[in-house]
């Protein structure tokens, strides 16, 4: 199973749906709620996100070498191979 990482917002419903989907599928993943970070950390992370997703929208989900911008259930499952 490829490593899974998510950049999210604590208040975003689509991010919650994405986390729920991964939990329901018992997928281990790391996430960063960017809105909860301090300014310096947040700006560093935003630069990191822009490399994957120029729109810098949330959630941004990295599954192996695939980047999924938004809660796209079908694409997420395909990238996970489930």
């Amino acid at each position: 199973m490829p490593p899974v990482k998510m950049y999210s917002l604590s208040t975003c419903r689509h991010c919650k749906d994405a986390k729920q989907l991964l939990n329901d599928c018992t997928i281990n993943f790391d996430f960063i709620d960017v809105d909860l970070l301090k300014r310096k950390e947040r700006n560093d992370i935003l630069e990191e996100i822009k490399k994957f997703n120029p729109d810098c929208s949330f959630p941004t989900i990295i599954i192996g070498d695939k980047v999924i911008a938004g809660f796209k259930e079908k694409e997420i499952k395909e990238a996970l191979g489930i």
Binding site: L9, T11, C12, R13, H14, C15, V34, D35, R39, R42, N43, L46, K50, P54, D55, C56, S57, F58, A69, G70, F71, K72
Partner: protein, 110 residues
């Protein structure tokens, strides 16, 4: 103020303008709660699905209802976060698609 109170207050006003709350009340109240949380921490009801800068002037385009709602509801029947939808969206007459981010990333000023 409680999410339910805001729900009742806004519902009438917004429906007159042609914008309806997502019929899934759990989603709607959850989003209103998130707006209240953003009001508390930033001082303005910044869109729950966008990263606020904390500067109201920078973020005036994403203060709910965001400026992008008009085109998003026109095109997709739903605003970006899914709080406001069209009547047809609620009645299942149009497909529930993901709404892509319309806000230019250049507006994300920190």
């Amino acid at each position: 103020m409680e999410p339910e109170t805001i729900y009742e207050m806004l519902k009438k006003v917004q429906e007159l303008k042609g914008y309806y709350f997502n019929k899934d009340k759990e989603i709607t109240l959850g989003l209103i709660e998130a707006l209240l949380f953003n009001k508390e921490r930033y001082g303005y009801m910044s869109c729950p699905c966008r990263l606020a800068s904390g500067n109201r002037t920078n973020d005036k385009d994403i203060v709910c209802p965001c400026v992008y709602r008009i085109k998003d509801v026109e095109e997709y029947g739903s605003c970006y976060c899914g709080l406001y939808v069209s009547k047809e969206w609620n009645e299942g007459l149009i497909e529930h698609e993901r709404v892509p981010e319309r806000r230019p990333v250049s507006r994300m000023i920190f």
